[in-house]
Amino acid sequence: MIGQRIPKLDAPDKATGRTVYGHDVRLPGMLHGRIKYSKHAHARVVRVDVSRALKLPGVKTIVTADDNPPTMFGYGKDNTPLKGQVVRSLRDEVAAVAAVDADTAEEALSLIEVEYEPLTAVFTPEEALKEGAPLIHAEHGSNYFTRYRYSHGTLEAGERESDVTVEADFELPYVAHAAMETSVVVAAFDHRGHLTLYSTTQIPFLLQRDLSEALGMEGSEIRIIQTAIGGAFGRGLDIYPFEPIAALLARKAGKPVRISFSRYEEFLAAPVRQPAKVHVRAGATREGMITFRDAYALLDIGAYVSWGSVTPLVMMETTASLYRIPHSRFAADCVYTNNPITGAVRGYGNPQSTFFVETMMDRLAVALDMDPVDFRVRNANRPNEETPQGLIITSCGLKECLEAVAARADTARQKDEGKTMKDRPHPSSFIPHPSKKRGIGFAATLNVGGGARIYRSDGCGATVKVDDFGHVSLVTGSTEIGQGSETVLAQIVAEVLGVNVEDVNVLNSDTDVKPWDVGVHASRTTFIAGNAAHIAALDARRQLFETAAEMLKTTPDDLIAKDGHVVAKVSGKSAELGKVARARHYREGGQVILGEGWYDPPTKLVDKDTYKGNISATYGFGAQMAEVEVDTDTGKVRVLRLVCANDVGRAINPMAVEGQIEGGAQMGLGYALTEEVIVEKGRVMNPDFLDYRLFTTADMPEIETVIIETDDPQGPFGAKGVGEMGGTPTAAAIANAIHDAVGVWMTTVPMTPERVLKALMEKENL
């Protein structure tokens, strides 16, 4: 069961159109909600007049800030469902309509009159920090939201020990999740006034709490039912205003209300990856040992705080702990502006930090005239060591990952009798053109792989039931977002109980049923929920063995679970699981087979002043090698091949692991070359897939994935997380390959033809 390429259990329903997504939910009497957004990036709201809109036939109710409960919600407690006094961004919600159909609701929006008094707006952190700049949240007293200051060792010593140092400035853009399913929510109240929310959230239990604040209700009055989720990638890690707005509409109308975002609205109002400007310095000795790394990041978190403001924790980890870094400093400032809200996007700060850290590694290697892979291997993290930041690294396949991708690069080279990439002939179908230059580049990555303690609990609960028919139900707190957790968890349970994967039903979508879990983030589900499911399955097996031992007249330690039976090793006698379950409860004082599991990893919240501490129970590592072709006439970069090696501890389902890496790579390629949400004066300028370019089948390079297994001591069957690593090193590997090809260092993504051409022209002028 473990290590097998088992197709996802939910795939047949998805392939046939049977799966119910949020947009497919239709409740009796359900109304359609639409939101009216602000016209200004910063303004005082003088008047909101809904009287004309209310008269439109089919309009059932309208909510404005007057309907807000008196509480504030959100990570920084700076948000309300609707905005009444001040709007702080163009995605600010001023009113919402519920009507019999979406067209009527849309028409009603145009009949709502809002009078504004524009205020001075700020659209960059630099402007927001200027003397006399308007305060985005006056009650906060400053436009700084958080400031991170981390260091280990002493930078001066690092500088002294260095034979070479490099320094550069980076600029990183807004990026969208671009999940294929747009945001959607359905809110319904029952006769008790309790709310059921059909949601695509990644944090059902935290959302209960957050909604209770946003709605002024008790958490116990809120039930979250998660529909099938058409992609999430971090979008669902926080409460966003449309969720309480749907509830306010539903309560006021006395009918269920669905709010489905259009794609335009998704680009406008869903959270985005926060842009950052980063200054980095790094040094090394002549022998190729890193001496120090120093980075400062200025982040634009937008008009309200969400998880975008915590990404520096991850950037810090890459800066201070990817490779052995004797001296390091990391500082970051998160600043309010009148721009869109920023949130968590797959990789959570790591695509950004890996881009600057890993391109700086190549700059050092070039300065040292050293092979970039050799240089990395020399400095690689090793198993069983603690980094100065306090990360306790147990299993670690960084060196193996680097060697694996390098070996594949070498094969590519050897094919052409030892010529370097640059000299390789073009595929026969192309006539070699002197303007096309080829190069290869490498980059590595470090990511949490055993949860990430950012809340006091990083736990997950699970129960495993065996019924009268020998059928197994796993109820897990965790959430399926397409990544395949249902299947992987079913494999773990099936392995322990000796049944087929198809005999395990996974239930994971209802807060009234499932035990608590912190949410699906930080590549944590296989490790944390996997351990919880493992514990619960072992508990169920213990109960099975207890009863089966009586039935088979032996002791529990003589028993194994195999092929749907409990089998006695010595006598060879066996009993079918359903029979054991029946025997356990069809008796006086009987019991059901119900195993329980709770797993919270042995990790710590980082120290709030020093930011040190072991945030994850284990760490994942990876490396990528990109082969590119740069057209020096046009600046166009084509990726020919991408090799991805990842230390995943153990691949419980190699096909699912590959899927995570390949899908991550698609995002990484987009981050590197095409994806940028262009925001001008707070306005999203490219809110559709024509202008926000995702890689398509035709754009994708050949991708090879290599799975490195290091058998993690604490992972379920040795596994650790992999969900985010597929895309974190891609942009750096491509930037390094561009340098190899044409000798320019790219410091911003996406590396569009325009930007590459500009860099080439600047180089010519030097």
Binding site: A15, G17, M180, E181, R263, E658, G659, D688, T696
Partner: protein
């Protein structure tokens, strides 16, 4: 607004409907005919999640007015799914791991069927070009392309 009388053959069944003439084919499939396998990812022809076959050819159903399909034959993912089983393209996608969140999948299935109808022996390049209008944010497409190519192989 006067209603439009629409005659369609959907998944082999003749349907007569009175519709708002502004409705797209996707609206009618999802909201009037309760066929929700076609998904709305963008409503502007850019993502392919709404792909169905119109007279045998794959189209993005969000981009065509239902009224313009009058008298046509429409096949959706529900229509190609055999009772209690899977179409070879569906089976290949399931087995090769070409499905994660699944939101793009029905559109991908219909685009692939349209492609194979037209070109039963596609090269990898043909598949990559043929599916380039269908976005997927989860899989990186590798397993999707492999799946479609394997259908061709198993038929040969």
């Amino acid at each position: 607004m006067p209603k439009f009388h629409l005659s369609l053959t959907v998944n082999g069944e003749a349907r007569e409907l009175l519709i708002d003439p502004r409705r797209t084919l996707l609206d009618v499939l999802r909201d009037e005919l309760d066929l929700r396998g076609a998904h709305r990812g963008c409503d502007s022809g850019d993502c392919g999640a709404c792909t169905v076959l119109l007279d045998g050819k794959p189209i993005t159903s969000c981009m065509i007015l239902a009224a313009d399909c009058d008298g046509s034959t429409v096949t959706t993912v529900e229509g190609i799914t055999p009772a209690g089983g899977l179409h070879p393209v569906q089976k290949a996608l399931v087995e090769k791991g070409g499905i994660q969140c699944g939101f793009c999948t029905p559109g991908m299935v219909m685009a692939a069927i349209g492609l194979l109808n037209e070109n039963p022996n596609p090269t990898e390049h043909d598949v990559r070009e043929g599916l380039a209008g269908n976005l997927c944010r989860c899989t990186g497409y590798k397993k999707i392309v492999e799946a479609v190519l394997s259908v061709e192989e198993s038929k040969a």
